[in-house]
Amino acid sequence: MAVPVFTLQLNHKLLPGRITIGKYDGSHSCLTAATTADKVLIHSPHRRLGSASQISGATTWSQVNKEISLLSVNRNVSAICAGRLHPELEQDILVVGTPSSVLAYNVENNKDIFYKEVVDGANVIVVGNLSGYEYPLALVGGNCSIQGFDYKGNDPYWTVSGDNVRSLALLDYDLDGENELIVGSDDFDLRVFKEDVMVGETSETEVATILAPLRGSKMAYALANGTVGVYNKLHRVWRVKSKNRAVSVLSYDIDGDGVEELVTGWSNGKVDARNSRTGEVVFKDNFNSSIAGLADGDYRLEGRSQLICCSVDGEVRGYDPSRLGTLMEGNVHQDAVRELLQKKQALLMELKNYESNTRSSGVQQSMNAGMIPAKTSLQTTVSINLGSKPKGVPHVELCLATNNETIIRAVLVFAEGIFAGETHVVHPRDEELTSTLKVELLPPRDVPLDIHIKALVGLPRTEQFHVFELTRHLPRFSMYTLTSVSEPLLDELPTNFVSFNISERVQRVILWINQNFLLSSELEPEAGGGSLSLSFIALRDGSPLNISMHSAGRVVISTSSMTLAGDLVQSLASFLNLSNLQVTAEFPDELAHLGEWLEKVSNLQEVRIQLGADLAHRAGLVRNLIVRAEDARLLPDLSSMREWHSQLREVNDDLINSYNIRCSNHNELLEILKQINLTIQKAARLRVGQNKADVVNLSRSALQNNNLHSLLKIVRTGEA
């Protein structure tokens, strides 16, 4: 437990995760948080400390402007961030996101910088410089899209992501002195964008809800399942998992050693700081209620920043390294002693085991000692099972077998993202124990996987088992089974396909197929180069997939799923180290949808304006009636007051009805816009490098002009 350097009570309920700190007058830090009453609270401690009564004729200052001032947003605040958005002002600008708009606001001067409607919503906002852009941007992550606004309210940055954006971070990922954008989205992916080109991608086991930059290219992340960890570039340095959820993650040098620690605020009210290299806890404290957020800023005007923690009840505590240094000292010693004692205990146990083993082996070959023949080995095969049984589903089968009479008691399979909870345990009943065991694997997504297997192997009727640990690699496209190899059909083209030209030999492509598909036997490249055509069947839904390549380097991938085609293109491109690839795509079904959606959007927009006007009109009526009713009340005219109120009730009911209609209209619109964004993203994934970024940008302008024809062309050819 640490002693805070200050505590205070804001007396407002705060929303978790929506806390920021800004220097709105250019020098004093103000804690800023979203409250549950749809307001933004700004706490300015310096107003109490002085400077209030210096100006003559302004004593009302102390009455009107106390430490806490509130901003009415009147909509649910979904994201909040303060930062230097205006390149010429030495002040921080507050950017507030709601489900339908973004507001950049100059707190000091009570001035809007800009106000923008964003139909995709604003789930998360970060403010900062992004490589390739002249002015600082406020990057807004919404449903499947990321928009960057500059201080003029223009949006020079726009890109689509695979799913709803949950977290954003600006980080110098490739250490070139300029920030790249890291995006965490609902499809569990982390993507790195340099300008609008994606330069890195990795997959997590859950939605990354928080991303925070650490020093250098390191980045902290937190997942929805309670995992917190650190990435260096896209390599995980360490991670820990808790049953609570992390609400806020921040880098702050709490022990004063010059290296930032990773401070995490948890949903159960715990705050802890961990060493960013090892994950070791160096500091912790507990709040009575869930943490709302963390921030660091100079809150006591003493020239260095403190760590500020807020709970949802409005309790604020500040910590700084000065008091912590001595405090944690004692703990460190105690910890060290405890750790050493634990090690000693473990070693003693081990020694004891060895002793008993040697004794038993000397006296008799005991069954229950868990000895197994020395040559025992565990063989694993990964194959595709098409599910011949009536109930069986086609799946990837992991088959474990021992080479002698020993049995497999149980298997622990650990793989990310396949099973709920990451680990799967198979332990057959006693009478079914054999020397082989099959584990069903159903990877939900096409990602390369490392499966860590722990098998308990022993002789029958033994009580102790040997643990075999091994790791198998599951290729990326393991859920597709090869059905036939034939010569490519030159004439007829399938309805859904992508085609592109690569200047590579067929052998290289075969190599790629061997690596990325689960084949019963490796494909042998034909002697004369020639061409290639392979047919696969997807295990998930039984749809066909054909990959063919002509000797001239023309590759045709035919599948009905745009996502799969995109995955294949990306995988092939990274295998062949292609920097750019332009692709022709034909997905008539998806494109037909696109047309439908666009039309629907314009219809919905039209209705939306109507409904909005209707709503405003009724709201005007309500206001009028309230004033009249109030008027009647003041003039004790009860009969007309009664009349006004009954009218008011009717109008109010109408108002609620039309609100509900508008609400469903809005949700529908959101859903469709999401689908459109997704389609653009899929179309972009069919291309590589600059062509990929082009698709996004061109689609954007096509969408803005509502030009369906050009949008379809872009999706098809990648060019406008």
């Binding site: 009570n110 006007a613 206001r623 109030e630």
Partner: protein
């Protein structure tokens, strides 16, 4: 003469009623004559057109039920809500405040009457005095009282049945759509239908006509959808810079209580239209609202150099000089107004006061005589009050008392008159009457600090320390920097601590 031509000529001569009759006859003969139809629409619209920018006023309902404003307690000088807090502004000490909690302005505008009292009850009670009637909502505001035929029944049914008209048909024909829109907005005052038409029309011209965007913005503004209005005006300004659009965008920010943004907008407008007086007036008004009189007068002066007959600017500058102890300067400005042909009670009243303070006593009373002869019911009270003030100034308490009583008989809610009467009674030693007058004044005008202070110091002298303490706090609430009040409070507190 061709009847269509004569109708057109009547329209140009602004003889709208006759124009309408001619058009009606023509339409009876040929109901499908679009030209005549449009002409009739134009004539009907022009008949009722009001300058909705000048007449714009925030209703009671908007003031209390809409909180579009972002900052609830903005930094002083950045909000119109708490003007008293700005730096360097005038205080109640030497420039009286109106009911609305603002320093009196040179001219009365709808906006200057917009108070922001604490509760709706207070706001509803205030307009009970006949002079400060405020609309309950801005949709039902002056536009209805000044214009709009929607309340009059027309012979033979309305000209256009809005519920039956197919707006989509007209939206694609700009020549018809624009007059129709103005007709719906100004004549029928049906914002919903107007908005519907504007939406369809702006789509029909592929969002390329800035005029429709401005009209959309107007509709949104009237409906209270400030953010939507802001977007439309901004988008219109990108296409075409127009003074009206700048003004309207500025109004949006004023409604959002962001005066600095509004000033920015007006200044941008001035870049396109240098020295444009309407924009300068808007800036001057905003500064006045912020209680930054120096800046306000600076802009009013700029207006006068451009337009030497601008009544508002001259009156405001005159007012400023008067309250900064330069009655001679003020006199010159008011005389200028007189030269321009302005001939009303208010002006003579001001002239009388200026003459008095500039020590031209011979002119003073004749000015007030003129004022009284010109006065209508609602300013008689003020004029008697001012004569009373002069009587006090020359030491004629008897005349003063009579004048003040006359003021009260003309307007029984004239709080300053009650206050002054109280002071007069006090001088005569009639303490109970004085106290009653002070209390009456305070209950009528809680925004004045003088009755509170007088009442409190009276109670203090009478030994009723508790009452004195309570009342002086109210005085300080109304005017926190009033030094005598502060001293009295300090003395009382000291006294209480001794006990």
């Amino acid at each position: 003469m061709d009847p269509v031509f004569s109708a057109l000529s009547l329209y140009k001569k602004r003889k709208f009623e006759e124009c309408v009759t001619t058009c009606t006859e023509l339409l009876d003969k040929n109901p499908f004559d679009q030209a005549v139809w449009v002409l009739k629409m134009r004539a009907l619209t022009e008949q009722l057109y009001v300058d909705d920018l000048e007449a714009e006023e925030e209703g009671i309902a908007e003031a209390f039920m809409d909180n579009e404003t972002i900052a609830e307690s903005a930094r002083p000088g950045t909000s119109l809500k708490n003007p008293g807090t700005s730096q360097g502004g005038s205080t109640q000490g030497y420039r009286p405040w109106t009911q609305t909690g603002r320093p009196v302005s040179g001219v009365v505008r709808p906006g200057t009457q917009t108070a922001r009292p604490g509760t709706m009850e207070q706001a509803l009670r205030t307009p009970r005095t006949s002079k400060t009637a405020r609309p309950s909502t801005s949709q039902s505001a002056r536009t209805i009282r000044l214009g709009t035929a929607s309340m009059l029944s027309e012979p033979g049914g309305p000209f256009i049945q809005l519920s039956r008209i197919n707006l989509g048909n007209y939206a694609s024909k700009p020549a018809l759509a624009k007059p129709l829109f103005l007709y719906i907005l100004y004549h029928e005052n049906s914002i919903r239908h107007a908005l519907q038409l504007a939406v369809l029309a702006t789509q029909a011209c592929e969002f390329k006509d800035w005029w429709w965007k401005v009209q959309l913005g107007k509709c949104y503004f009237a409906l209270g959808l400030m953010r939507e209005a802001e977007q439309q005006f901004r988008s219109a300004l990108r296409q075409h810079q127009c003074i009206e659009t700048f003004l309207r965008l500025g109004r949006v920010y004023i409604r959002l209580d962001q005066p600095l943004s509004a000033l920015d907008v007006c200044r941008t407008g001035l870049e396109y239209f240098p020295k444009e007086t309407t924009l300068l007036t808007e800036i001057a008004r905003i500064f006045e609202g912020l209680n930054n009189m120096t800046m306000s007068v600076k802009y009013y002066r700029e207006i006068v150099t451009e337009d030497s007959t601008n009544v508002e600017a001259i009156a405001c500058i005159g007012m400023h000089h008067f309250y900064t102890d330069q009655p001679e300067m003020a006199l010159r400005f008011y005389r200028r107004l007189l030269q321009m042909g302005l001939y009303n009670a208010e002006l003579f009243n001001n002239l009388g006061l200026c003459c008095f303070y500039a020590q031209q006593y011979d002119m003073t009373l004749s000015c007030f005589q003129h004022a009284l002869s010109l006065a209508k019911d609602d300013d008689v009270a003020d004029i008697w009050y001012n004569i009373g003030l002069i009587a006090i100034g020359v030491g004629d308490t008897r005349l003063a008392g009579q004048c003040l009583r006359l003021a009260i008989s003309a307007d029984s809610t004239h709080a300053p008159a009650y206050n002054n009467l109280g002071v007069l009674e006090l001088r005569r030693g009639r303490v109970n009457e004085a106290s009653a007058f002070f209390q009456a004044a305070a209950s009528l005008a809680p925004y004045l600090f003088e009755p509170y202070f007088n009442h409190s110091s009276l109670s203090h002298k009478m030994g009723d320390l508790q009452a004195s303490y309570i009342v002086i706090q109210k005085a300080l609430e109304a005017y926190p920097n009033h030094v005598p009040s502060q001293e009295l409070l300090r003395a009382l507190e000291k006294h209480f601590t001794f006990i």
